[in-house]
């Protein structure tokens, strides 16, 4: 890395470290910055040429034109700064995302002013993927900022930036915002994963537990007591209605794996892949696959074990383990 870039990186980190992280940011004189754009410099050069022409040809009307334009640009600078100044931004707690997949942050912009703020762009700092919005007078607007998380894990939300060039495009007015919220990024699922691994035979204890369970339910084969996380379509609603009439609150689900004597373990060792990240990617893909099939699955990875189960809560728990292990 060349020294200039290194220095820039240092200045940048120092600059960022000065902003206290917060999920809400009030934009004031202190955190809104302004510099002329390239078009602004060009307009400046145009003004200079107009002025020189006015001097050389002694055109008083030329002076008037030049100065009126200069005055308008000066006012434009103020308008530009005021477009961001006084705005308040609030980050809505971000959902967990898959790595390397298109994701969005949602930010609510609140405008207390009695006039509209036009042309405000927001982006993850340095991404260049701008989302543009107007914020109506005394009201708020929600922006969805596209971004692509690169690595799994629990990350702080990357620094965001808001920018405007309204009204003349001669000045770039921007702010940098470090939200305090954290964001969970799951591993990127493998694109074309192999089929799920074969089930492992139930150990004696687990097998008898399964038997007990089916007997405990006291019902026919294929039905078991409702467990948290069971898909609603598996609930036997007729029985539920009967049970309710009898004064019981218990629900029952159809048990697809009733006859099953083996259970599905998603094991990092079983993937046969040497690299941890590759294993996690495959496990991630398998979790989604198993969840779609509606089977019970357990997870064994990096010394952590999640017992076989299914449902949304289980899926999230599995993905979280994959994200943070």
């Amino acid at each position: 890395m060349n020294p200039v870039a290194a220095l820039r990186g240092r200045i940048d980190r120092w600059f960022l470290s000065r902003r206290p992280p917060s999920d809400t940011l009030e934009l004031t004189q202190r955190n809104v910055y302004i510099v002329p754009t390239r078009a602004g410099w060009m307009l400046g050069a145009t003004l200079l040429v107009l002025l020189i022409a006015s001097i050389n040809y002694q055109l008083n009307l030329g002076y008037l034109l030049t100065f009126l334009l200069a005055g308008s640009v000066a006012v434009g600078m103020h308008v530009s700064h005021a477009t961001l100044r006084g705005l308040s931004m609030h980050l809505i707690a971000p959902e967990a995302q898959y790595a390397r997949a298109g994701a969005v942050f949602r930010v609510v912009l609140h405008n207390a002013r009695r006039s509209v703020r036009y042309g405000i762009g927001m982006a993850v700092r340095g991404s260049g993927q701008w989302a543009w919005t107007d914020v109506p007078a005394e009201s708020s607007a929600t922006v969805e900022i596209a971004f692509q998380p690169e690595t799994r894990g629990l990350h702080p939300v990357p620094p965001l930036t808001a920018e405007t060039r309204f009204p003349l495009g001669t000045f770039r007015v921007w702010t940098v915002w470090r939200p305090a919220a954290q964001m969970l990024v799951y591993p990127a699922p493998e694109l074309h994963p192999p089929p799920l691994p074969p089930g492992e035979p139930l150990s004696g204890q687990a097998a008898s537990a399964a038997l007990m369970r089916s007997q405990g339910a006291g019902e026919y084969d294929g039905v078991r007591a409702y467990r948290r996380g069971d898909p609603l379509k598996l609930v036997v609603w007729k029985k539920a209605a009967k049970a309710q009439a009898a004064g019981s609150e218990d629900l029952v689900s159809r048990d697809a794996q009733q006859a099953q004597r083996e259970e599905l373990w998603l094991d990092a060792e079983a993937t046969g892949l040497p690299d941890l990240e590759a294993r996690l990617s495959r496990l991630c893909a398998w979790v989604s696959m198993a969840d779609r099939l509606g089977v019970d699955y357990g997870l064994r990875v990096a010394g952590r074990t999640l017992k076989p189960s299914q449902g949304e809560a289980h899926r999230r728990a599995c993905l979280e383990v994959l994200a943070t292990c």
Partner: protein, 666 residues
Amino acid sequence: MLKRLAALPRDARDTLFLLVVIGIVVLPQIGNLPWWCTGLTAAVLLWRGTLAVQARPLPGRWWRAALLAVTLIATFATHRTLLGRDAGVTLVIVLLALKTLELRARRDAFVVFFLSFFAMLTNFFYSQSLMTAITMLVALLGLLTALVNAHMPVGRPPLTQAAKTAGWMALAGAPIMLALFLLFPRLAPLWGTPGDAMAGRSGLSNTMRVGTIAQLALDDTIAARIKFDGAVPAQRDMYFRGPVLAQFDGREWTALLPWARGALQPNLRVQGAPVRYEVTLEASNRPWVLTLDAASSAPRVPAGIEVTGTSDLQWFANRTLNDLVRYRAESYTQFSSGPLQRTASLQAYQALPNGSNPRTVALAAQMRSDPALAGADTPALVRAVLERLRTGGYTYTLDPGIYGNDTADEFWFDRKEGFCEHIASSFVILMRALGVPARIVTGYQGGELNVIDNYWVLRNSDAHAWAEVWQEGSGWQRVDPTGAVAPGRVGRLQRLVPEPGIFAGAIGAMAPTFAIDMRAAWEAINNGWNQWVLNYTQSSQLNLLKNIGFDAPSLEDLAYALIYLLIGASLIGAAWTLWDRRSHDPWLRLLRQARNRLQRAGLELPDAAPPRQMALQTRERFGPAGQATHDWLLKLEAQRYARASPEADTTLRGLRAEFRRLAWPR
């Protein structure tokens, strides 16, 4: 049609709007541009508009290159150069139109905007009138609107919204414009103005072919405006001196070359009190500095111009006057000039080409042989010729027909009609044939008072030619032979006016003075524009400073005034920022200040802690030392939330004062 416009996609609508604005920028130029330039520009703009409406792709690079090549060739063919001012204007206009053909990215749009600003400025090379200013103001607002609109990226905002923002910015920018306009030091031209500036203006000429002033006589445009300081001289004495023509080649009168005028001082002899006045001379593209006959000292012209006088009482600037100039001068209406004794240099004023106007020469010989005139001096000869003009059936007309070769012969013997230049020319030829040194003076005579602003207006139709004859013992004397033919012409008792058009005639029939009043009012407005805007020169700037209180203002003081103004504006801006911050909730600000104090003392407080919680935590942490703060915080709470209760009667101001006095725990 409007519905279709409203239904256009935003892109097409914005493009059409910008094209219309460009049209407004270019429109006033049409008269100054070569015909092909106007045609090409209009065609390209229309083409681009059609493409936008039909959402068709823009033409390829080859099209643009070809059009550019055509433009360069045509410009070179028209102006014989690609540089120069006129060629530059032509190029800027066509480039502006061509650039719209690649109006895609924001960068291209910016180039169009900047070219438009240049094109607007080029307008002022040709006209700085009030009308031009109004048109350009509209164009500037249009351009700003388009620029603002381009920076409203969301949806399809109505153009009126962008127009409102642009208008507001221009309005708020106007004070800045005014300050800069008043105080920005007016400098002399940085390099010589190219010679093609102001080409093709009508006005007085330094040659006179008999019959050409006729066009001027019908030209109602204003040549100059005069403001007299005190007493206004009689209208019949208002002769404004232009070129003096003394060399005649049989067809055309021209000014003598400088060295042939005689290396004499003007020898001006004046009588009576001087007349002081200020002249606002319209652009003439000539170096003449018009003065009332006869100015004894050089007119005081703006910086950047130097004037020199000649022996025939003319004043010349060191450059052509391509724009409005205002200057002050001092003149004496009673004067004579030139040598008192006959000198060799007077020979030049007696010369006549051989063989021209033989009948006039014969007339002179016949008069000389008349016993009544034998040995007569100049006044007697002048009286005799004027008598002939008065009684010989000569008439004054603006439409004398076309004269042949020997104009004086035709005038004296055949047609016997004409206007000032026929009469003056024939008079001078006859005087020269009689052996009297004589010359033609051209300029303006008379003028008209605009009662609204008390300026005397000289129009090109007031252009006049008269004669001066030399007389032993008293020098050059003015003789206006036209007065002998048409006494009303001199002194403006009667004026030949071209027939009014149908429209003007109809208005005149209904309200005879209406048209005159309207014209007077409009010209007064225009004159105000000239005086206050176009004539705002370095000396006006320094005068302004003098009025503000500078004793001996200089350019340096201007810079100081500008800097002071800048500092003042910044201070106002800072004050406004403070006020803006104040306008946030003062109660919340006070609470935040208290929180900062406590946090500095080491108390851990969440940002959202209400005053009561802060109070409790303070007492818990600091014990009795925090009691005062605790009480104050509770009062702060009461002030906000329990205003009805008696102990909450403290005002925010009181709380703030207490805040300052409070012994904060450390």
